[in-house]
Symmetry: C2
Subunit: 357 residues, 2 copies
């Protein structure tokens, strides 16, 4: 349950700082000579092929990191419960991402000097929008405690698939980017397929969710979708601005909001037992994984978009289940096969729909 | 169970005679002045719009008749078991369809006289292929008794969705008609969606089906798909030939094969208790419904194709469930909603895919 919360937190928290060392590792040898900053600052000047390659690499990285995230959750559940504080873990993730983006910037400054695009100092006009995604997630996380009065945990997992639809709708409305009709059909299928893959014998109870539960689930989906789309808007508003600077500011506010959460919820426990009480190897691995997948989400937002992010994390969910068969001897269910088929067709249709736009 | 058998028999038996009175009723007022024969014999000469109208009407009729078929099955289950013989009921359906097509022909002969296209006499060359669909169904129905050694009845219902895929594949191979890539995607979705809509807590057992069960299910799907596609090929080979003549010959052989089935399985019972022993109002209604939906299938084969037939019967399945909510107070499950969503998107994609061909 505790790990689940970090996961939820993470999956939504969409934007992260990044060290260029990490990007180089993710990007593979082909691009390893070019510092990450160049890729970011060159903007429109790079060839379509390099752009496509970068987009593919960050998407693949996000998919792999998200699925290993879920595998760590299963592993941690098997290993038993850990008594660490969730709020300090969340804060650590934000702090780690902040530190990585700062480290990346220091290296860039050394190699290329400080320019308008990579300097850390900013204007009030630029920075004023950065706390908004973090604030939206705070509201959403608060609502999360109330929704469990109406829906059980497996039901909530099912309802979270509404995020897919809300992201698509808000992406269209806020970013004013068009999806083709086939891509809309694909998006509906993605939502239906993911839900189908998660079906189990108790899933039907979700239909008995009272009206307030549905309203809260929809509001939460809208908040989460809005935060994702808004983050993309912030990052893309200044295409030449270095991504590490953008992430640094986003995560400074992430740290602030998590510090407030620690003060409200876990202040006494942290004072008495210490900040890192109950941290184990697996806790550390999960924090590291969350920081790195945050980095990948951030790159996807910069070089691709929210739609790619949704597809990436959905495919990751299926990948996790398949890997769990080998690692933990899980059995794949018939709904899983059917849902995976629908998701696969959806991915295919999304790419076909793009060509025909 | 007995009604289920008629239903299975019927759904596959794909081709039926038709009286033009019935067609006129189905076709509505717009076309009621034109005898059915004209529509059939004029062939290529009618306008695209009339063709489209005819295609829509027969498809709608098939959908409505198929869904009322399933509702009769539910009704009959609620009303308790009837001790009638399934083989005599099947024979009666064939005989009724034969009689209706003959009645239609008599009326046509009176109005228009006997022509090359509507005369009943035929050549060995024309008639020699007509027993093949009936023979294929006989083999399939015999196999049906053996597959239950490996799969239970709900599992068999799930596996029957393989018919959708086999029909698509054989339609492509035998009739050499192309489906666009999007239409193929839509067809896979139709299969996945129909299966999802039928999921219940025991569905997962179907994955434990032994290898022989899978082989038999695939062979049966291929037999059923082949019979459907072959029937379409027979009917479409002579486009100007009157559909009632074509149906008459198809169903003469249907009667023959069912007569053989009575001799083998129920000869003693029929001799001792009589042919119509145990027939009730609902038995009669079901036989009438099967005959009429057979007529509709036949019209769909003549004026549309197997793909339209598969979509039509799949949508009918969903329609039945919705109507059952009102008639019998059924509850719709979450898998049903998800499956219906996928099937709806599939229908949409099929029509979009056609335009882009």
């Amino acid at each position: 349950m505790e790990y689940r919360k970090i996961k939820d937190h993470h999956q939504d928290k969409d934007v992260d700082p990044i060290g260029d060392d990490d990007i180089e590792n993710l990007r593979g040898k082909a691009l390893s000579g070019i510092p990450a900053t160049n890729l970011a600052t060159l903007g429109g000047s790079f060839s379509e092929r390099s752009k496509w390659k970068l987009k593919s690499v960050v998407t693949l990285a996000l998919t792999l990191l998200t699925s290993s995230q879920a595998i760590l959750i299963v592993w941690s559940k098997r290993a038993g419960k850990y008594e660490y504080s969730v709020t300090t873990a969340n804060f650590s993730v934000e702090a780690l991402k902040c530190a990585l983006s700062l480290a990346a910037l220091v290296r860039i400054w050394r190699n290329e000097g400080v320019t308008d695009d990579n300097r850390l100092s900013t204007t009030l006009d630029e920075v004023s929008v950065y706390p908004i995604p973090a604030a939206l997630y705070l509201v959403k996380n608060l609502l999360q405690y109330y929704i469990f009065a109406y829906v059980d945990a497996p039901g909530y997992q099912i309802l979270k698939n509404l995020n897919i639809i809300s992201t698509g709708v808000l992406y269209r409305i806020i970013l004013k980017k068009k999806l083709s009709e086939i891509q809309w059909a694909a998006f509906i299928l993605l939502c239906a397929g993911c839900t189908t893959a998660q079906l189990n014998s108790s899933s039907d109870r979700v239909l008995q969710t009272p009206f307030q539960g549905w309203v809260m689930a929809i509001v939460m989906a809208l908040l989460s979708g809005f935060a994702g789309v808004y983050t993309e808007a912030i990052i893309k508003k200044r295409p030449s601005r270095n991504i590490n600077v953008q992430n640094f500011w986003l995560y400074v506010f992430g740290m602030c909001f998590n510090a407030i959460a620690i003060l409200i919820q876990d202040f006494d426990a942290v004072m008495n037992k210490g900040f890192f009480y109950g941290y184990s190897l697996i806790t550390t691995l999960m924090i590291l994984n969350h920081a790195l997948s945050g980095i990948a989400v951030s790159m996807v937002m910069k070089y691709a978009d929210n739609i790619v992010k949704v597809y990436s994390t959905s495919v990751a969910m299926l990948l996790t289940a398949v890997v769990s068969v080998f690692l933990f001897g899980f059995h794949l269910s018939l709904p899983f096969f059917l849902g995976s088929t629908v998701v696969s067709v959806s991915v295919y249709l999304h790419s076909v729909g793009k060509l025909q736009r």
